[in-house]
Symmetry: C2
Subunit: 658 residues, 2 copies
């Protein structure tokens, strides 16, 4: 039986398990990527592991989320990251050099490699045949230490592309069409592998727009085979020697197949406030637009901005619409500046920004109240733009530019008819991507003189081995569907403490009960109680780390969200499932004791635990965990576990086999 | 007896008083300028005056301080300002189009005109022979309504320039040298008029660097005569028809004379944390530098950035030093982009920002903790950069660029020796300033469809006429030297409420007593008591408006800072001077009653008032006010006063005489 491309790459990197859907496998990681809001914790964890040097083929630290540096804590984070990259041997990309995914694509992404990144849009290089997966920061730290990455073997789905995009339809419309069809949950547990005759009609920049935004389908990752387009792109980057021809076997078996005829596509738009709320642009034409932004890791490349620049040449934007262009990389900015396009855009009324994620995560250029913003980004979750009740639409650069010119949403084909002289800009790549690399500092060039920690950068707390006896008060009783945003809010005023666990912990669950953190600290031990689906939302590991710092020993919930449960293991908090009756009966303040020898029971594979409440009544709680997860939990979390393994001469983390 | 240039322009615009030093004069205003942190209040006041249209020759509303738009309140402010400009007839410069002083200089500044602006660096166009004065927003609103601007006739000081600047010395070094000699108080109550043979050796962009930063000397304004350089500059702007030859009479008499020999100057630098803490760069050479920023209204012009670009061409900045270039106007950005310089700067490692005040007021690119930042700005007050205990140095673009290349402070002459091929870049103007005007929306082009107020934009509270009987509790007793920063802090979290007086008022005096605002509201009347020099610092009128909103009736202080005292009149709060004994005796919470018929006494010119405390003891308080100030105070502040005059058919505000 033939293999999919995904299976081939996984097999090449397999160090544990078998490639059976749903089974846990361990794979070797070639490249890692971190950014500034997750990277500080990654390096603090790397430091806590007592490791000297990065063991992967390549590690790259980018500064892209808070490059406007609103607060000295942001600037301190960037300085710390530079010092960590220099000390431990990673490439360092300075603030202003661009978004991690764009800069990585330009400089490091390569066919056949595996990559782990502490950012959800890590799958971007799938457009060049790299298998790239987003994860929590601790997994990245361990991978940098040479340890394998563990994941349940996903289903591989064939997305078969046919035909060719017509004028004014773009790669963005391909992924918007998939979101329209599959919804934001349609890719969960799956790798989307693109095949079919439509593939060769798409350039690599178009492919990476699709793989990037595959994240919004919930996919583990997305990947394209390589071909002449890939080779051509690498050659323009001056990296033709990194080209490898890879693809699925002809008789590869997929779990499912989806067919998209590119020639059927038209300009699409995701309405507020979900990326899958997709309709043809024409359906919402006429909506007045206050702000348009072109940029982000999805549509911030040279090839994304050039069409906008061509459309703007010799024109002026509408007087009551702002148009901000924030390139995805400084290389894109530099090439566009060198060719005169930056001047043309400015002349048309564009506010040309430094290269940054910025507005995509609500940092800068927050929309006005009760206004419409069209953005070429990948997410329009309510409030993500920085204001509650926002109206953010997602679309291609062409659609955003058309709206900026007209002052309202308009199908660019209709605008072209109206103006008479507006041509479909198409897609054009530069002859050579020959921008400067001044802002990408290699491990050799970076000063190796230790970590520079500002006053806001603390250490990562380590947890001791799990106790035999766990007892303490019920610190908080919560309802169903508590999200990681409830546990650790992501707003800017709190975000800036991501490197400072003691301070960040003060905000733990503050949206539920603003006295919780102090109560937990005072109690020095205890449990959280919650209803169904506890910990849903982002993969933010701070949502487990901060409760751990406050002394929380475990969580009793009716059910857990998958990623958060993994994070609870990773930070040494026992996640126990309880039934509805127990949930109803237990109250905040009740004294809880786990009657079993917890450490022993966890290691031995015991699934049922006896919980004694107020020395009065008992209930059964359930632990659902793999053998690996049990070892991690019993050792006090993944950091302590990994450290213990290294000290005992175990094989993880260990030098990579190069 | 001959006249100074200042006297000539004032005489041309005089509507009240005589040109005697220290006497109050009223002058007609030709142009007004506002920006986004002061402009919202200006227009709310203009609205409160029930006026229909701007009456000055020209009004221009710029958006430059918070163009990164951290919060929707910033974006709402910009939208409101656009709607106000359209509704009332002002030019509107969009966020991203540049700093008010730079854009005004390029588009509107003209010899012989008078200008009032609600920004302290309003004197910038003095470099083109315009008499431009910074003031509070209410004065700007009244001037826009056609009312005269009242000011004490300043002394006119002759700053005689001789010689010519040597290589590597710049206009920035001229003003730094004056600061070194005169200190930040050296220009208080004075107009600095530049004369002498050195004038013609300076281009207009150099002159405006000097007039701009004259503000740091405390000067009322600074002004140059016009000559061939002025005509040439206006001609490159396409505004040669606005040239007028103006200058002092040969036998003009000045209050004082200062001589600066330009040929003696060398690269200078202001050390932390005061603009007059000036030494030669060589004295602090070797200091490690983490961040350099080129921009601001002082050194953000095309002519300021081009030398930096030339120095950077073909080079790369130091790996551990960040260099941010934030142009003063989009025109500068566009011209530099068109000529390839933006690409060159990016290639060298520059983070190229949108055109903004930004970092100069601590908005974005805040320095890292315990780090050195070199900036081409005009102020380095402690904490202004956004972090307490900062180390901000002020210098020319050449010195900042040299530091970015070397990674430490270095005299650029020494760096030139070291590198061998680094030439002094000199100063070069573009043939034509032919950038786009897409972002400068004229009153005709702007939508005239009413004010758009977001939820954070309130109305301006109006005060009733002064009561005959004033009595209430002592709401707060304060020490000497309370600043306007104590009264209304200027940090970003509070700054965003500048258009929302009820909300902003909650922060009134919170740095002294965080329960003050609620206490004052509850009391609904009462007095503040303070020691010497109450209200020193900025001209922020919110420091009078917010106490007024909270119901405060007056301030009893040992002495008042000049501008704040004027603001107290403007917002209808009676400023009474008390002696030390009274200050010592009165306590917080004491009941205070002014025994006189206050309204009558204020209008009649009475200077001594009897204050009765706790119905127990009495003291004498003193009111020092001009007849005009007494009328304003008695009418309930300048807004109510102006409105009353307009309603009674008085001549202010009235149409300008064109």
């Amino acid at each position: 039986m033939g293999q999919t491309l995904t299976e081939k790459i996984l097999e090449d990197h397999l160090v544990e398990g078998e490639l059976e859907t749903g089974e846990e496998i361990g794979i070797e990681i070639d490249q890692v990527l971190t950014q500034d809001t997750t990277g500080t914790l990654v390096w603090l964890q790397f430091e806590a592991l007592d490791l000297d040097d990065v063991q992967t083929e390549l590690a790259a630290q980018y500064c892209d989320h808070q490059t406007y540096q609103f607060d000295f804590k942001n600037t301190d984070d960037h300085r710390f990251l530079r010092s960590a990259a220099g000390t431990f041997g990673a490439h360092f990309s300075r603030p202003g050099n661009g978004i991690c995914h764009n800069v990585h694509k330009e400089n490091f992404a390569a066919p056949g490699k595996t990559m782990l990144g502490s950012d959800s849009h890590t799958p971007t290089p799938g457009g060049l045949g790299e298998l790239a997966i987003g994860s929590g920061g601790l997994d990245v730290a361990v991978a940098m230490g040479g340890g394998p990455y563990y994941i349940e073997m996903p289903e591989v789905v064939n997305v078969r592309l046919e035909g060719e995009l017509p004028d004014w339809a773009t790669a963005k419309d391909v992924i918007l069409e998939l979101l329209r069809r599959l919804s934001v949950k349609g890719g969960v547990g799956k790798v989307l592998e693109y095949t079919g005759p439509g593939v060769e009609t798409l350039t690599v920049p178009e492919r990476t727009t699709i793989t990037n935004m595959g994240t919004e389908l919930g996919a583990t990752t997305s990947i394209f085979p390589t071909d002449e387009e890939t080779e051509d792109y690498l050659s323009r980057l001056g990296r033709e020697d990194e080209y490898v021809e890879i693809g699925p076997d002809e008789d590869a078996e997929y779990a499912d197949e989806i067919v998209v005829d590119l020639s059927d596509l038209e300009p699409l738009i995701a309405q507020p406030s979900m990326p899958d709320n997709v309709v043809p642009v024409s359906e919402v034409a006429g909506t007045e637009v206050d702000q348009c932004i072109i940029g982000s890791c999805t549509n911030g490349a040279y090839e994304d901005i050039l069409p906008a620049a061509k459309m703007l040449e010799g024109r002026e934007i509408n007087k009551t619409t702002d148009l901000i262009v924030a390139p995805g990389s400084k290389q894109a900015s530099e090439l566009l500046a060198r060719e005169g396009w930056v001047a043309e855009m400015m002349a048309a009324g564009v506010n040309f920004s430094e290269a940054t994620c910025g507005a995509c995560i609500g940092i800068g250029h927050v929309p006005a109240s009760d206004s419409v913003s069209l953005r070429t980004f990948n997410r329009n979750f309510e409030g993500r733009s920085g204001i509650e009740d926002d109206s953010v639409y997602l679309c291609s650069p062409e659609v955003a530019t058309a709206a900026a010119l007209k002052g309202e949403i308009v199908d660019p084909r209709d605008l072209a008819d109206e103006l008479g002289d507006l041509e479909a800009p198409g897609l054009e790549m530069p002859e050579k991507y020959d921008g400067s690399k001044a802002d990408l500092i290699s491990p050799d060039e970076a000063p190796d003189d230790g970590l520079i920690k500002g006053p806001n950068i603390g250490d990562v707390p380590l947890k001791d081995e799990l106790d035999s006896h766990l007892a303490g008060p019920t610190l908080l009783k919560m309802e169903d569907n508590i999200t990681t945003d409830h546990i650790i809010p992501a707003t800017q005023d709190i975000l800036m403490y991501r490197s400072n666990i003691p301070k960040l912990s003060e905000f733990t669950l503050s949206r539920v009960d603003d006295e919780f953190a102090q109560r937990a600290l005072d109690a020095d031990g205890g449990f959280l109680v919650a209803g169904e689906n506890y910990g849903q939302g982002s993969s933010r590991e701070h949502a487990a780390l901060c409760p751990m710092y406050l002394g929380v020993e475990g969580v009793l919930a009716q059910s857990f969200a998958r990623i958060h449960k993994a994070n609870l293991f990773n930070f040494g908090l026992i996640p126990l499932e309880i039934d509805e009756e127990t949930y109803e009966k237990i109250d905040e303040g009740d004294d809880v004791e786990i009657v079993d020898d917890v450490a022993e029971a966890v290691r031995s594979g015991q699934e049922e635990f006896t919980v004694r409440v107020n020395d009065d009544w008992e209930a059964t709680a359930h632990l659902d965990a793999s053998a690996r997860e049990r070892e991690i939990l019993a050792d006090g979390g993944k950091l302590s576990h990994t450290k213990k393994q290294a000290e005992s001469g175990g094989d993880s983390p260990a030098p990579a086999d190069d």
